[in-house]
């Protein structure tokens, strides 16, 4: 039991180490750089932990694929622009079936954008950033303690799905210092699920469509569909074990607020006036859970740090209109939320008292 101040980015690193990670490859980028810097410090004291500052994010993402195939649990950390550069490698990880973890501490994009300001505009990129069809696993914690906890889950899910799993964070959460006792967080660790390279076989790990014997299957639709469905179905089945969300606040209210990551924390003073649904697993979406909960409410408001990326998902999922409070340009504050609510005529009449409850979670 050691309560101390922990930073969000540090908690991610500690979670990775707890999960058994032994290989970090990365490239400096705000606001994720503390993870890289602290990984280098850890590596300097723990020779079994490999650290390499790469020449770019393309190298970083490909390096963690190679490290994982070689036998190490591996990870990298980046932000939007670097995450964009990693997309092809993420697709390779999905195609070949390589467990690894990518941390994306979101800032405001597109392009170089606003490097030190928080954003939530990479949700679609985590789902659709690479080419073709694949099944992404993405978790987005809300507290420093959760950064630790869900990083362990991310490594576990990566092993179980044999795919690159993404932890989302943001400039606020990554740089947030909170008192936490990480020793009290106990998540069982899933061991490696792939046989390391040079274990006596002659496997071909190929981003090109191939049959089991390594021959090209580059014009065989039936084989493509068989392999794709097999991996999709396997990953969706694993998803049932990782259905993380929070449902709370004033459940008797008429309106359900959907907010996640740091936005849920900022919106906390609205607790008396609204019910809350917070997806922690962003992808695959929590269709069953959200559909059931949303049916109890007359209105739904999605508050998020993008111009409707998650609101669009909810509308398509529920086939009903949702209200939107987009927090843009890094202006993620209670004041901005109130202005957004006012603009859609949903601002509570009474000034809401500031709440201090801790997030409650399910899953």
């Amino acid at each position: 039991m050691t309560k101390r101040l922990v930073q969000g980015n540090e908690a991610v690193l500690l979670g990775a180490i707890k999960a058994g990670a032994s290989h970090f490859a990365g490239y400096p980028i705000s606001p994720s750089s503390e993870i890289l810097a602290q990984a280098s410090v850890y590596a300097s004291k723990h020779p079994e932990f490999h650290f390499l500052q790469e020449e770019d994010e393309i190298a970083s993402a490909n390096a963690i694929l190679g490290a994982s195939l070689a036998g190490a649990k591996s990870f990298t950390a980046t932000s939007g622009p670097g995450f964009s550069l990693m997309q092809e490698a993420i697709g390779y990880g999905h195609k070949v079936g390589i467990p690894c973890v990518i941390v994306n501490v979101m800032r405001v994009g597109p392009a170089t954008g606003m490097p030190t300001m928080p954003g939530q505009g990479d949700l679609n990129q985590t789902r659709y950033g690479s080419t073709g069809d694949y099944t992404s696993f993405v978790f987005y914690p809300s507290t420093v303690a959760e950064c630790y906890e869900y990083t362990i889950h991310a490594f576990n899910a990566a092993e179980e799905t044999r795919s690159p799993v993404i932890i989302l964070s943001d400039a606020f959460l990554g740089h947030l210092n909170e008192v936490a006792d990480l020793d009290t967080i106990d998540v069982p660790v899933v061991p490696r699920t792939i046989e390391p390279l040079a274990s006596g076989g002659t496997r071909l790990f190929s981003g090109v469509a191939t049959y089991a014997d390594g021959e090209p299957a580059t014009a065989d639709a039936d084989e493509y569909i068989r392999q794709y469905r097999e991996s999709r179905d396997q990953r969706l089945k694993v998803a049932e074990k990782y259905a993380f969300y929070e449902y709370g606040w004033n459940k008797d209210a008429e309106t359900l607020v959907i907010a996640f990551g740091i936005t849920r924390r900022i919106a906390q003073p609205l607790a008396p006036h609204f019910a809350l649904f917070r997806p922690i697993r962003i992808w695959p979406t929590l269709d069953r859970e959200l559909t059931e909960i949303a049916a109890r409410y007359k209105k739904i408001i999605v508050i998020e740090g993008s111009d409707g990326q998650y609101a669009n998902v909810v509308e398509r999922m529920l086939l009903r209109r949702v209200e939107r409070v987009p927090l843009l340009g890094g202006r993620m504050s209670l004041e901005a939320i109130r202005e957004g609510l006012d603009a859609i005529g949903m601002l509570p009449a009474q000034p809401a008292p500031s709440g201090s409850e801790s997030p409650a979670r399910v899953g």
């Binding site: 490859a25 280098s40 020449e55 694929l65 190679g66 070689a70 390279l197 071909l204 191939t210």
Partner: protein
């Protein structure tokens, strides 16, 4: 073990065009692997995209057929995690020197103990014959109808930015020299690069006036001359080996803070 045990001969014939030079490299590589005792338990192949990348599929080893240009970060990471393994990169000039050029610059700088075999056919063969980073200036390709505009990349110069690296220039015609270079490169403690001139008759040679693969091989015989012993810089169309100062203990840096092994 026989040399043919290094190959998945049941997958033959290969996808390579008749007359392609890649098979000549694979045959010598398999021979050297047999001589040095490289097997599926101690060796991993990392290949890139391009015709050469298919080599991993035809050899009895674990192999990683990476994304286009990304052999080196993958190979370096494998070597970091498993320093006891021989890690061999086999790819083409387009994959290594163009799309993967930044990785080449930086892998060389870090001096990982890996070996790179570069099938240098001076063309993008798999995509039909476009100008590559090694295409000689003036060459007619399907993307340079008036002749390639720029001078080719200086691979020797790039590799030799690392004073501890091994660089060899050879050709598929010079089988004995190529075999020696592959063997020395695998045994070299640190980064080693074998730059192998190799013919692509179908998507390069015929367009530039060669009637057959044999004519291209004969041109290697007549155009390339062995550099005299002690040469420290190879001229164009010279074959030879430039050895840096081998580090006493080779390995991949374990820490980005400079604490190499």
């Amino acid at each position: 073990m026989a040399v043919k045990d290094k190959l998945k001969t049941d997958l033959f014939p290969t996808i390579w065009c008749p007359g392609c030079g890649i098979g000549l490299i694979m045959a010598q590589l398999a021979t050297v692997m047999d001589e040095l005792g490289l097997d599926k338990n101690n060796t991993v192949l990392v290949t890139g995209i391009g015709c050469t990348g298919r080599m991993g599929a035809y050899m009895n080893f674990e192999s990683v057929y990476t994304l286009h240009g990304r052999t080196l970060p993958v190979a370096e990471a494998i070597k970091m995690v498993r320093p006891e393994l021989h890690v061999l990169v086999v790819s083409g000039d387009g994959d290594l020197a163009s799309i993967g050029g930044n990785h080449l610059l930086h892998s060389i700088r870090r001096n990982p103990n890996i070996t790179v075999l570069c099938n240098n056919n001076e063309i993008y063969g798999l995509t039909g014959g476009q100008t590559g980073p090694t295409t000689p200036q003036g060459t007619n390709t399907i993307s340079s109808p008036a002749g390639a505009t720029y001078t080719p990349i200086n691979l020797q110069g790039v590799v030799n930015t690392n004073p501890n690296a091994y660089y060899a220039k050879t050709t598929v015609y010079h089988q004995g020299a190529m075999k020696k270079a592959i063997r020395e490169a695998i045994e070299w403690p640190g980064f080693s690069f074998v730059d192998i001139a190799s013919q692509c008759i179908e998507n390069n040679g015929r367009r530039i006036g060669f009637a057959s693969a044999n004519d291209m091989l004969q041109s290697y015989r007549t155009e390339y001359k062995a550099a005299p012993p002690g040469t420290t810089h190879l001229e164009p169309h010279q074959t030879g080996i430039i050895k840096g100062q081998p580090l006493p203990v080779a390995g991949t840096a374990r820490s980005g803070n400079g604490s190499g092994e």
